[in-house]
Subunit: 219 residues, 2 copies
Amino acid sequence: MRRSSPDTISARQTDIFHYIENFVSQYGYSPSIRDIQNALNISSTSVVAYNLRILTAKGWIEREDKISRGIRPKRNRNGNGGIDLFRVPLLGTITAGGPLPEPEEVDPSSADKVTVPPDLADVSRLGDVYALKVRGQSMIDALIDDGDIVLLRFQNTAENGQMVAARLLDDNAVTLKKFYHEGERVRLQPANQTMSPIYVPADNVVIQGRVVGVIRSLI
Amino acid sequence: MRRSSPDTISARQTDIFHYIENFVSQYGYSPSIRDIQNALNISSTSVVAYNLRILTAKGWIEREDKISRGIRPKRNRNGNGGIDLFRVPLLGTITAGGPLPEPEEVDPSSADKVTVPPDLADVSRLGDVYALKVRGQSMIDALIDDGDIVLLRFQNTAENGQMVAARLLDDNAVTLKKFYHEGERVRLQPANQTMSPIYVPADNVVIQGRVVGVIRSLI
DNA sequence: ATACCCGCCAAACACTTGTGCTGTCAAGCC
DNA sequence: GGCTTGACAGCACAAGTGTTTGGCGGGTAT
């Protein structure tokens, strides 16, 4: 038998879920079963109830029994009734070679914050994500320009080729580069043809985070 | 006669309003009249209805007639009162030359939505902002890569050099290019050294929107 | 074939919930 | 004292809304 995976939902269930999301964000309260039925041209309320039960079981929505208009979208999306989950602290600026305050040095709760799309930050680990404003064009070939905001997830290790914020202990400087581990040393590669890579002993580098997203405003 | 100022409400109304606020933030949906009645030990539903009418008239809450649990607190609650202001419809895909559904052709309320940082979308004009996913690398030199999401503000005109979504009437195609008005014709310039600009008569081009932001996920 | 499960349909049912109507009562005003 | 008004009470009704039951057709497994 072909079992549907616990995370996949049928086309009709997708429609219903989207309708609920949009309804809530538009009206501020949940649609009734009959609202859904009429909007999606479903011929019976029981079909809606049936699919709602599945969506609940699979964790896409939450409901309370017998409560009118008590559907709450859960996954993805804001849902969550107005709590702003997607604001991360903007901890400072990162340049080709300039200093960067350690994330620990800045109180994240007092820092400026930027709102980020939830797709860019795995919400379940949102506490580990922070933002930095980029100065300079050392990563221009990686499509990161001066003034862009990069989102980083805090992590101490990196795979070759990943873009990271790397701290050079000797220089007490932090830089945004592509990371390559090469035996005893580490190559920090700018994404700019006019700039040369930096080679440093592996024990002189601390990864401070990996770039998980880029936001650019052209206004 | 001492008229109560339009902004002051009685103790009972204050209680009701607070109860609604707390209920919504806790459960994600509004209380029913009887919920309020029981919680505040009010002896009749009509009293709740009566005070709800006053709260509505004075602008503290919003309701829809006959809708169960349709109360929405309005005041207070900085920002958005539960409504997510920063979601824009993702209307489709844009390529170097491929077709794009007209924004009007897609029901924005049924489209997928992306949450965008408020900085990227002038919130006061949010209704005019939409998102498109970029396919191809025709704008690679403008630091826009395949898979990026571009935010566009709907507008019919553009300054030279601005990046726009342009519709070519003859080809019924939409493309993401830099816009240059050159006399009787328009030059649509890709940001990719391997691609050539397109020259079209000015009356064959309709601007569909201007790029105001870029979002890229590297996860 | 037969049995079974899934997704759907139709209709009835029963609970939930907003509304309307009729009073009561105290306070202010002529 | 009469009259009006604001706030509240009690109650019944009707509309809104979730739930349930029985049935149907098309697949899939036995």
